[in-house]
Amino acid sequence: MSLPWRYIASKLLTAVPLLLGVITLTFVLIELSPGTIVDKYVTSDTTPEHREHLVALFGLDEPAWWRFLLIVRNLAVFEFGLSLSKHQPVWDLISEALPNTLLLSGATLLVMYPTGILTGVAQALRHNRTTDTSLSVASLTVYSMPTFWLALMLQLFVATLWAGWVSQAAAGGWLGDEAAFWLDLPISGKCDPIYCDDFLPWEYALDVARHLLLPGLAMGLASAAGTARYMRSSLLEVLHTDYVRTARAKGLRPLAVVGRHALRNALLPIVTLLGLSVPFLFSGSVIVEIVFGWPGMGRLIVDAIFAQDVPLVIGCFYVFTLFVVAGNLLADIGYGLLDPRVRLT
């Protein structure tokens, strides 16, 4: 398999001004906003000398253009600096939070693609019948739903009905104590606060998965609705093409027509969607991480914004943009590999 290296290289080159643009945008926003981090340490008792000392300590006595150039140079060599509010290297904070967000994004994709694709296919195959209409209504409802509300309703369901069922099943002897513990789904956090340190590796993995279930479901269902709408129209379009009619006319089983001939082509735009969905995944994770107390990038960036922590905000934006650029690139390359009609030059 030969990858289009020239294309990848040229795309990566265009990513540089894009990254520069995002850093500039972030920096200008922070500079224009009223107040600096120093205000958090200043009280009515602070002497002017002490204030000046603080300003110098945070490096804010340098002119803005110089600080900007410094940030750009440092980011170019992945030097993220020190967080002003958390007194830790920015890179440590990001490398702690990023895997969690990626885990959540992975869980989202695991829910989103199977649900979305299956729904869309079912709708297209039963076009304009009861199945199609009812699934359309369902997916449009979820599509119009705010993610935070869906997340809260899931929490409500698990905290009341689900917990009740589990405790009843345990009391009735249907479930062992162990099973009841794992099935009693937590509604926030990443790991059980009491047992987390004592877990065996497999127990730890199971516990994280159990904590991940609800956030993944909330974000996955919210995004699955869009995928289903896309999949439905894409497959409907393919089902009306000449070659599908030919496949039907030569007597292939309906399953073979759909599975071998139609679905392959209908899935192409969905693959592109995967790469392009990165910004939406990050947007959604901000909300879901806050509702479910998931320690990821979304919470980190919100904390950083509230604290006016310039290095941390810029670092988070930088990492976000890197992933978006990578997602776009993957979408292009994937499309080129899967669809021989597309030539990447």
């Binding site: 001004p17 995002v22 009223p34 409802t141 739903m145 993610t147 910004p279 939406f280 960036i301």
Partner: protein, 370 residues
């Protein structure tokens, strides 16, 4: 013309219902219900309502709405004979297409109900949305409080109605702003081409590669403004972060229209570039923009709700749907209604705009039909 259609003169909607136009009939009857409810609840308090301009506006709007409803019933009962030119006008053709589109009509009536309920809020809302009564806190839905009360004893229904005004105002104005910016950027990029096109599309890509909610959070979190100024800030930032879709649509439309004969003719006649763009290109690129805007109002309402939910929207005590859901989190298990109803209101509003957009797409642009 036909006798059953005249039933609508008694109550708008009955005529449509009697002659078999179910969706329009039920939709008009629901609008009647909003109008009647506002009348019954509002007129006894009319003297009090005239004190604020919101109240005064709602009283005036109530008469306007009556005129609209009965006007629609009259037009249906006694249709005017149209000349051929009138019959083939672009708006009438689109309306005839749209009228037959069930889900699109559902969306249209949803939006109309939302709009009328919003303007009539001072007449409809049974209680003061910000009046705190600790004795009535977390009351379940019932006879006095139809949707219950929240943790401060405030009526959820009244807060819901008032919250709708923020959502709709922000949605409409922000999307208008976004559409204006996007149309400008797209038209210039597409028509002028070359370096300008590349620069503007780079800007579009740049804005698209930052997760929108994160950018919104950053701006709303960094620029703390007091009170009602926050509303204007929200409108501006939602507009400034929402124009990229429009600019891409307009650009691609302009690229294909630019080479058409009528544009070449206009250029040959010596028309100036701005005039060609405004008079000949943009009117032809309008349909997809309108569709996009209808869908964008839905996403904008969602974005505003998310910001309010995170405490970065219009500050309390002004009710907004997102903030209401956030307030309800503390007593989610014991008083779920104060989170349930605002959420359902968001779903209904966003869904109406989505259905309207889908219907408009099918009516305005037969090429796009799926």
């Amino acid at each position: 013309m036909s006798p059953p259609a005249r039933l609508g003169l008694a109550m708008p909607g009955l005529g449509h219902l009697a002659s078999g136009r179910l969706v329009a009939g039920v939709g008009l009857l629901l609008l009647d219900a909003v109008w009647l409810g506002a009348g019954v609840l509002g007129w006894p308090r009319a003297a009090q309502l005239t004190e604020s301009w919101h109240g005064l506006l709602s009283l005036v709007f109530w008469f306007g709405m009556a005129a609209g409803l009965w006007g629609a019933a009259w037009a249906y009962a006694f249709p005017r004979r149209l000349s051929a030119a009138e019959r083939h006008g672009a708006m009438r053709v689109a309306w005839r297409q749209f009228r037959g589109h069930t889900t699109g009509m559902l969306g249209l009536f949803g939006v109309l109900m939302l709009l009328s309920a919003t303007v009539l809020t001072p007449m409809l809302a049974p209680f003061d949305p910000v009046a705190i009564d600790v004795g009535d806190k977390n009351m379940p839905p019932g006879g006095v409080f139809w949707m219950g009360t929240d943790k401060f004893g405030r009526d959820v229904l009244s807060r819901l109605l008032h919250g709708g005004r923020v959502s709709l105002t922000v949605g409409f104005i922000a999307v208008s702003l976004a559409a204006t910016i996007g149309t400008g950027v797209g038209a210039v990029a597409g028509y002028v081409g070359g370096r300008v096109d590349r620069a503007l599309m780079w800007l579009t890509d740049l804005m698209l590669s930052v997760p929108r909610l994160v950018l919104l959070l950053a701006i709303a979190g960094l620029f703390r403004v007091p009170g009602d100024a926050k509303l204007y800030l929200l409108v501006v930032i939602l507009g400034l972060t929402g124009w990229m879709g429009v600019s891409r649509i307009v650009r691609s439309e302009v690229l294909s229209l630019r080479e058409r004969e009528f544009v070449i003719a206009a250029r040959a006649l010596g028309m100036s570039t701005p005039r060609i763009i405004l008079r000949h290109i943009l009117p032809n690129a309008l349909a997809p923009v309108i569709v996009y805007c209808s869908l964008a109002i839905g996403t904008t309402i969602l974005a505003e709700a998310a910001l309010s939910f995170l405490g970065l929207g219009v500050p309390p005590p002004t009710p907004t749907w997102g903030a209401m859901v956030n307030d309800a989190r503390q007593f989610l298990r014991s008083a779920p209604w104060s989170a349930l109803f605002p959420g359902l209101a968001i779903v209904a509003a966003v869904m109406s705009f989505n259905l309207l957009g889908d219907g408009l797409r099918d009516a305005l642009d037969p090429k796009l039909r799926t």
